[in-house]
Symmetry: C2
Subunit: 225 residues, 2 copies
């Protein structure tokens, strides 16, 4: 029986979300990851390892044909090497057009077709939408989607993004209490086999551990400054 | 250059929508259809023919792996043989879980990734959501999605469902003025090679032509009563 479906990238936020949902729903959860042609598709292996570590069923869905290309999936574009806060406001260089709505719609479709499921979880956190970097992580976006999902599923599925008002450091501090296997998670957008330490997401990862006063187990090619 | 993306099932409403968008945007439109494992996948051939007739670029996207099964895609379920108005209220037997949100998200993703695109069109009409048959065709659903799409695309893409307050007969009457090739369109859900004439959608098709006082060119196996 599966009560809740969780969108799992294999990063810090969705792994913490998975652990949280697993506790709340006492193991009756399922994790779903998406192959959208991301250059850092190593995250899919990490997602599988995180789910396996928690004893949770995991599926990878190929949505590459359904999605337009963006900074994370277009081989001709480079990922930026500065902190999110040092990026110019507006469309993020790592934005993939409407990616999150498409992934969430898939998650909800799977949940709506499952007779036992009631929840679909989304790991967006407050810093994702700061400076308009990822508007599809904002509370306004989440609220519109919560409404659309409820209507479209005859009220069956509740979309929930419990971290939408939390900083990434708060997500880490919270996840640390419930044993999230940080060493299995993956953040780097560069596409290499170890965390680069210099892309925006590696920097945000490092900052979150420091902010939460949790030991960062990550091996970085270059330690973020 | 493509200014507008249109979700095309090959039925009456989306074909009329395609013709309308083609007029408004003077040919700079693209039609996208979805293979979701529907038993009546013959509609995809009709969609292709409708687009070809109008000289419009057309793509079929396979989303069968991303979608849960429902009445139209589960071989073990039969489609009902009564009018929509004679179905019990609530979840329609031909509802496919969250199908429309998923298809719209894909459409918007493609449009958002296209530098020239500004519009995504959805052919829902008023009778789709009557008696709660398809809540994901209701004005409330459309409004929530319009908001979510605008936020998620930095305001780039406008989702529009111009028939959301129109009856199907009004869609036909309107389409007749702009030369929609009705004979190329497909409505039947049964999965056969000619319109069955007895499923809910065949009945609605027939009623729309009668209501619009437009000649129905459809060959039905059994003429709807």
């Amino acid at each position: 029986m599966t009560k809740a479906y969780i969108l799992l990238s294999g990063g810090i936020d969705s792994s913490a979300l998975l652990a949280r949902a697993n506790l709340i729903h006492e193991g009756s959860v399922k994790a779903i990851s998406v192959d959208y042609g991301q250059k850092h598709n190593i995250e899919l292996v990490h997602a599988a390892n995180v789910a396996k570590h928690m004893g949770i069923s995991h599926e990878i869905v190929d949505m590459s044909f359904a999605m337009g290309k963006g900074g994370l999936s277009d081989p001709s574009l480079e990922v930026p090497k500065v902190s999110y806060e040092d990026l110019p406001h507006g469309v993020s260089p790592t934005y993939v057009p409407n990616r999150n709505m498409l992934m969430l719609s898939m998650l909800v479709s799977k949940a709506a077709a499952d007779p036992d499921a009631e929840f679909a979880y989304y790991g967006a956190h407050a810093e994702d939408s700061e400076n308009d970097a990822y508007p599809d992580c904002s509370p306004e976006f989440v609220n519109a989607m919560v409404k659309a999902v409820s209507i479209a599923t005859y009220g069956k599925i509740t979309l929930d993004a419990p971290f939408v008002d939390n900083t990434k450091a708060e997500v880490v501090a919270n996840g640390e209490q419930i044993g999230v296997p940080w060493e299995l998670t993956w953040s780097c957008y560069e596409g290499g086999l170890i965390h680069c330490g210099t892309c925006s997401t590696c920097r945000a990862r490092r900052d979150a551990f420091i902010g939460a006063r949790v030991t960062d187990p990550t091996v970085y090619r270059e330690v973020p400054t």
